[in-house]
């Protein structure tokens, strides 16, 4: 018996990353074998998505912080002809993001209530829709996890693109009124940006002779001599740098590449918005830290000030744009532009200061933590917006108001989550933002000062949302409406809130994990 247990444990630990990565995809395939009752399908999908969550927690616990570096490596020859391997590994940067992904996916599935009625109209084939929704969702999870776990550039790219397709359909099939426009904009924008990405990994492959990330970390930055297609290597490197940078900048999104985001987030179904804001945007920030920073230290050092200017533009203009929205969901969508600006500001500061200095280390760890905390608070905010919309069928802030007495628990949760998003000290967002600010102040004092304008207007739009939803006189039409948040939504909010509080009060545990990747 003990032997069997040992063998099973060993197998799980040896293939932990593959198990995390492929369980959702496998579950997506199995969904098509199940009977068509929606309840069964949903229960199965949620159950299946809990497996990677549990495994991610094991991953976190089993990761050896003292040894740091990449662990749980798996390598299989995959496409020998072009030198691309199935190579997975995890470190202190990817593990928190893997946990974020595997956490938010089940939570989003839990609240995905209305999957049965995707879009009205005669052409709807009601049966089978839920199945596809859930399958797309699980495929999406595999795509995102693949990006976080890939140690091979081609693999990285493929997973990057795989994530795109399900999200397109989630928006386009289950979205709001302008879903077609939003979905197409999302797809074309991201796809267009991926072109540079594709170009970049190809020239890297051709110049350095490898797709393998760990070996590229060692060889690529030092590579200085040589030509490719008659172009000097410096030009090639610049080309690759910009290709990657723009691809990730669109994803983050960095100002001025952000206009797809408010449309996509607003039109996506609640669960889709949660994943979009909670995880998908982090792919961009992750790309910057995983690929651009280590592979192009000279180039990013040179362009860091420009990047910082755009980041501050995202912070300030994103906050101003959010403040001017009267659509609750659009307001929350714009808040992502505002918050993700801090990620890029931190990356830029770390690039200039050097990640090993105190300032650089704070900025970079702050950026990673910001991705995590924003993932939690943004997913929570979209959940809450969706919960309200399900009951009122409006997102217009002018029509809402005074709902606090009708929904006290909802109100409390909304205030908590909105305050986390605002960066209230004591909750997660504060720690990450203050770390970025402390770090970047050293490098970009003026820009950091200007970013404070954005931080001020963060307060303005958050309070606008709370005030217009909860406070004021109760309009007649909601006098007898039942608006209180349901048990399912409360269950989904609980882990987000607990984590936000845990990070805000005691950030050591997660910063230690992130810190192992920064040595």
């Amino acid at each position: 018996m003990e032997n069997v247990e040992l063998i099973v444990t060993d197998f799980i630990l040896d293939h932990l990353l593959s198990l995390i990565l492929w369980t959702p995809a496998l579950a997506a395939a199995l969904l098509f074998l199940l009977p068509g009752r929606e309840r069964i399908l949903k229960a199965f999908a949620i159950g299946a998505s809990l497996v990677p969550l549990v495994l991610s927690v094991i991953l976190w616990a089993a990761y050896d912080g003292a040894a740091a570096g990449f662990q749980f490596e798996e390598r299989l020859t995959w496409y020998a002809a072009i030198g691309s391997d199935y190579h997975l590994a995890a470190d202190g940067l990817s593990i928190p993001l893997v946990l974020l992904t595997t956490l938010i996916t089940p939570l989003a599935l839990v609240v995905a209530a209305n999957v049965r009625e995707p879009r009205p109209g005669p052409a709807v084939a009601g049966r089978g829709k839920a199945r596809i929704f859930l399958a797309l969702f699980l495929l999406l999870e595999t795509g995102m996890l693949g990006v976080f776990l890939s140690m091979d550039l081609l693999l990285f790219f493929i997973f990057w693109e795989v994530g795109l397709v399900p999200m397109f359909f989630l928006i386009q099939q289950w979205g709001g009124e302008k879903r077609d426009y939003a979905a197409l904009k999302f797809l074309l924008y991201t796809m267009g940006a991926s072109l540079g990405f594709l170009l970049a990994i190809q020239v890297i492959r051709l110049a350095a002779g490898s797709f393998d990330l760990p070996s590229l970390y060692a060889s690529w930055p030092a590579l200085a001599e040589g030509t490719l297609f008659g172009l000097p290597l410096s030009t090639v490197k610049a080309l690759a740098f910009w290709g990657l940078t723009i691809a990730f900048a669109v994803k983050v999104p960095l100002w001025p590449f952000h206009t797809w985001l408010p449309d996509a987030h607003t039109e996506a179904p609640t669960a889709g918005s949660m994943i979009l804001a909670g995880v998908l945007l982090k792919l961009g920030g992750y790309g910057f830290i995983r690929l651009v920073l280590p592979l192009f230290p000279d180039e990013i050092g040179q362009f860091a000030p420009a990047l910082a200017v755009l980041a501050v533009a995202a912070i300030v203009l994103g906050a101003l744009a959010a403040w001017s929205q009267n659509d609750f969901k659009r307001l929350v969508a714009y808040s992502s532009v505002n918050h993700m600006g801090f990620v890029i500001l931190g990356v830029a500061a770390a690039a200039l200061a050097g990640a090993e200095t105190a300032a650089g280390s704070f900025a970079l760890r702050g950026a990673v933590l910001q991705m995590f905390t924003h993932g939690l608070s943004a997913a929570g905010m979209f959940l809450l917006v969706g919960a309200l919309y399900d009951r009122t069928h409006t997102r217009d802030l002018e029509e809402l108001g005074g709902l606090f007495p009708r929904a006290p628990v909802y109100g409390g949760i909304l205030i908590f989550t909105a305050m986390a998003s605002l960066g209230l000290p004591g909750l997660g967002g504060f720690v990450s933002e203050v770390m970025v600010i402390l770090g970047s102040w050293r490098v970009f004092p003026l820009l950091t000062g200007i970013a404070m304008i954005g931080l001020f207007f963060t307060g303005a739009y958050i309070l606008k949302a709370i005030g217009k939803v909860l406070h004021g006189a109760l309009p007649k039409r909601w006098k007898d409406a039942s608006l209180e948040i349901g048990l399912r939504e409360r269950l989904a909010m609980a882990p987000l809130m607990i984590l936000l509080l845990a990070i805000g009060v005691w950030p050591v545990w997660i910063l230690k994990m992130i810190g192992t990747a920064m040595r």
């Binding site: 109209g121 397709v165 200095t357 005030g467």
Partner: protein, 737 residues
Amino acid sequence: MLATIAFLIPLPPLAAFAVILLFTRRHRALSTAVAVGMLALSVCGALIVAAGALRTADLAGNPIAESIPWIPGAADGSGAIRIGVWVDGLTVLTLCFVAVTLFAIFIYSIGYHNFGAPEGRQDVPGLPPHGSTAGGDARRVPSVEPLYTRFFAFISLFAFGMLLLVLSDNLATLFIGWEVMGLCSYLLIGFWFARERARRAAVKAFLVTRIGDVLMLLGLALCWQFSRSLSLREILDPENLARMAAATSGVPGLSAAGLTALLLLAGTIGKSAQWPLHIWLPDAMEGPTPVSALIHAATMVSAGVYLLLRTAPLLSAAGAPATDAAAFVGAFTALLAAAIALAQTDIKRVLAYSTISQLGYMVAAAGIGAYTAAAFHLAMHAFFKGLLFLGAGSVIHGVDHGAMHEGRETDTQDMRVMGGLAGRMPVTFAAFLAGGLSLAGFPLLTAGFWSKDEILAAAWNTSTAVFIVLAAAALLTAFYTARQIALVFLGRPRSAAAAHAAEPSRWMLAPIAVLAVFAVTAGWAGIPDNFPILGGVIPNGIERLLHPAAQPLSSAAVANLMETRQPICCILAAPEKTPFSYAALMVSFLVSLGGLLLGWLVYRRYQAEQKDPLERLLGPAFGFLQAGCRFDDLYRILFAVPARWIADVVVSDWIDRRILDGALHAAGRAAGGVGRLLRNGIDLPLINGAADRIAGGTRRAGAELRSLQSGRVQEYLLIGLLVFTACGAALVWRMLN
């Protein structure tokens, strides 16, 4: 042991907050017991720590301190942020007055929210209770606040924030406490959130203070840059201060220390409602009166001054630009707010402006280096202003009772419809009188006299301009205090409601009585030793507590300390003992007694519907003062309207919709053309391959757009996978060749 207790002091109210919201929110008695019980635990802890600290021989040299790591540093450990507690003289003093006022106001709130009264049938959450007709009585009787338990949850969270701030040995947790209190202030100003005015006031308070907060955050960044830490001990280390004083800041004419001090001062200006960010505090009176007493008079607003005093060595090291700014802002605010208070008719707004004015005294005192005097006044002000607000709440309650009795709607906060309450509410009157005299600085007897006199004496010795302004403000203070007491309590009742006002319950009277004792006697602990006759009769405890090293920490002193390398352990630095001056004392007597007498003479015979005597004297200027010098309108035109315009028109409409999306749509329309152009124009085979994908993507998108209504997801999935596979295959094929 003491350090551990100090660590634990802030936690019970936090637990109370969580317990009430999560478990006991439906049980009023239980929630009250939890809130008060937990606070009692904290107060006991605070008293134990204070007693222990007072027994410590050299508290400045050996403060009670302990810290734990909070944010790990870089790989080499630099920059780590530790959090912990720090108990020295200033902490002890602040802890004591915070504990007393917190406890008094918790008890008072029980009565204020009509604990034990029936529920009103028409009461709704988010509005003050209307009263109840339960019990068969035709007349209305007070009804319990609908959100009674929530109130106690919020003030418990507030207590946590304040205690955390006071005990912090670092700017990180100090800032956490700072902002948690800001949140509580927001939630409690908006406690009756169904009122439009309350909603606006809450947002205004949060946002205006946030201007100071974000600047303060930059100050934290500067501190961290130089000391690689947020611990006060390391920031205020003379070596570090000397480094900061010597470093340039990037702003011409300002050292790094100067810039840091100014940024932290901005935080103070926001939190302590100093000009030009003072506009939120008068509106904050929309909150329930215990909130006004606790948060907007006694504790939270004093956090700004506390920060200034806590970082006093930095201010000293920063030198002229920063200290002058503090002195100017403080003195100007003191005078401005006192002048505005003259013309207010709302009983609470007078006190609000008075708070702004008194806080101005403390900021000015810090600016001229009179830190001990500022701390002394901070504590005394908490007692007498807390008392005045509680008295005002009691008056409002009493008039409200009268209005209910008469069955008419009356503005229960308008002093013009009061009058003659001294006879109806003798206990409240006596207490209010004690508080008012203390505020006016009634000589020798009251706490306010001793603390204010110390500030005036310090100003007399350092800056004539500050002295003149503060003395003028003191005259106005005494005048508006006399006006308020005369309008509310003296003469004959000017409305039916006032005529039937009644003393409130004991829950409310007991805390008022306790604070009244403090408002008079607490000042006796700070009588200067060199004061004629009275000096030395009671030992000057305040001085001993706050003045341990008695060395001014000027830039020169910092350099001096640098040479000797003495670790400076007193966080509070103070100038040389203020020499006694009869002239300053005479002025102090004169403005206080003169103002009181004048106010009493002018307003003692005020009649209903009569024009305010000051209005006859000042003419249109009176209206200007009444409207708070129109700062609200000014800021609306200068900041709020342009910000709205930039957000709505420039950013959302022009930049995002027209320019960025416009360009995108134009590109979209030309997509096919662009695809061809890319293919033909750029001859790199790799880019060629990529361009094919764009064209493919566009084509596919077009096809999808056409068939969007079909809704056959399986088909899309298939197409998507096919295209994707094709692209992948094309890519692989390219690379193989």
